[in-house]
Symmetry: none
DNA sequence: TTACATTATTTCATTTGTGTTACAATAAAG
DNA sequence: CTTTATTGTAACACAAATGAAATAATGTAA
């Protein structure tokens, strides 16, 4: 995909006009832009997207921007460039110590900003060759599928044995199993599995998946040690064995 | 940490004012917004980011929006909602056939738009388990890669021999190997390797890498003296031999 | 060769990750 | 509303992985 320079920049800036100005400037240089009007939101965005560089305003409605740097660092190592309203040497030192990578004052020359951004991106890439996580396409199950000694029946939201005996999966266990089946032979992280069973406005902790997996294993009879159908991928999550389906 | 509803919406719309209006409306509902002013750029953005839903204007500078649907579908299965300037039944049918999921006309009621968006997101999630972007340091190697006599399989977080025998790498050994593969032919400093496997808030001593390398060499069968696959670069660190991969 | 520096390997206490149960919170059913 | 089923968290036991330290082996320079 040889588009060079398609890096993503997250703008954390409360002033809408400045955001818009920055967006215009940077989009002209072919960057992909994400905007956050405050610190809290920026963290939420980082939870969902890989960004290559962050422009961080110091005066945010929910606190001094510098205070967010540690939280940003928990989520990404992308370079953080501070955009400060007025020059203040103490503050500069303080923010750089806090983990910022560069510091630039308003008003700034657009070309200078671009230059700084490029320099930081270059440095970042030298240290960490890293790109966005790939996302496999997942197909919908519409036919019955054999899973172990069971038949997974999407139309009835339940599993059955050959002789018609009905399983006892709850709906979320059924969905979880479906997700595993759709991705058989691929290790799924707890977070991915969480997504598949989450109810609106509530996301369980990753450990809740362990409990569900335990129950699921028991109900489908995956009782060898270690389990053969739903395998544990230590440090990652779980994977349905390809041998188990058909 | 309930970030529910933190879905990402890609706006494909040439009119800046409408883009801005949509952004305002949707950001108020906590969606993350990406903007593309034309079809070509939208495809580039999709190359880099996972989006949950797409709002597609039909009148774009580089062609009718409907023509982009197949290209969008090559990159994502996220629902596409057409935003049309004027109502035209033929066009509606045509775009829905082309793969759009919903159709809404300008001018539209913001609440209606939100309702349609939510409905489509819900439907999409019923079908596809959605993995949020994760930030772990797992390699982004997409395909299996030969390494020595092994096959490095990112989807299973494990290495395998030609005949399917499974390796015994731990997840961090697997990640370490991935880092070496990504940088094959380049000597990596211990500090760099530390980075790739470090757990949150803990940085091991560089010597810990030696131990991991020893274990890794043993497990991949790199047992010549000196080792040929993972070579020691004295005074620097380690380097994966380019001959070993393919 | 020796003397020194760097890396390899083993050991083992510590840390981390997972399986499981019990229970509380929540949703569903009567 | 009460009862029941489902669900997720907390707690604990256990297993695996990890890395610091000690020791052995190897490379390097003189």
């Amino acid at each position: 995909m040889g588009h060079h320079n398609m890096d993503t920049i997250l703008l954390i800036e409360d002033d809408k006009l400045i955001r818009q100005m920055l967006r215009d400037t940077l989009e002209r240089k072919n960057y992909i832009i994400l905007e956050a009007m405050n610190g809290k939101r920026s963290l939420e965005i980082l939870e969902h997207h890989n960004v290559n560089l962050i422009l961080l305003d110091l005066t945010l409605p929910d606190g001094n921007g510098a205070n967010f740097i540690p939280h940003i660092r928990e989520k990404t190592n992308a370079p953080v460039i501070i955009v400060s309203g007025e020059y203040c040497k103490d503050q500069k030192v303080k923010t750089l110590n806090a983990g910022a990578d560069d510091y630039i004052e308003k008003p700034f020359d657009p070309d200078l900003l671009i230059a700084r951004i490029n320099a930081n991106l270059r440095r970042y890439k030298d240290i960490k060759p890293q790109s966005s996580v790939t996302r496999d396409r997942i197909t919908h199950i519409d036919d019955q599928i054999r899973i172990g000694q069971w038949l997974y029946d999407p139309s009835r939201y339940q599993i059955f044995t050959q002789d018609g005996t009905e399983g006892e999966l709850t709906s979320s266990e059924f969905i979880l199993l479906g997700t595993l089946i759709q991705n058989a032979g691929r290790a799924l992280k707890r977070e991915e599995l969480c997504e598949s069973i989450r109810r609106d406005s509530y996301i369980p902790t990753p450990r809740a998946i362990d409990v569900k997996i335990t129950r699921l294993r028991k109900k489908i009879g995956d009782n060898t040690t270690p389990p053969k159908i739903i395998r544990t991928i230590r440090g990652v999550g779980y994977m349905l064995s390809e041998d188990a389906i058909g």
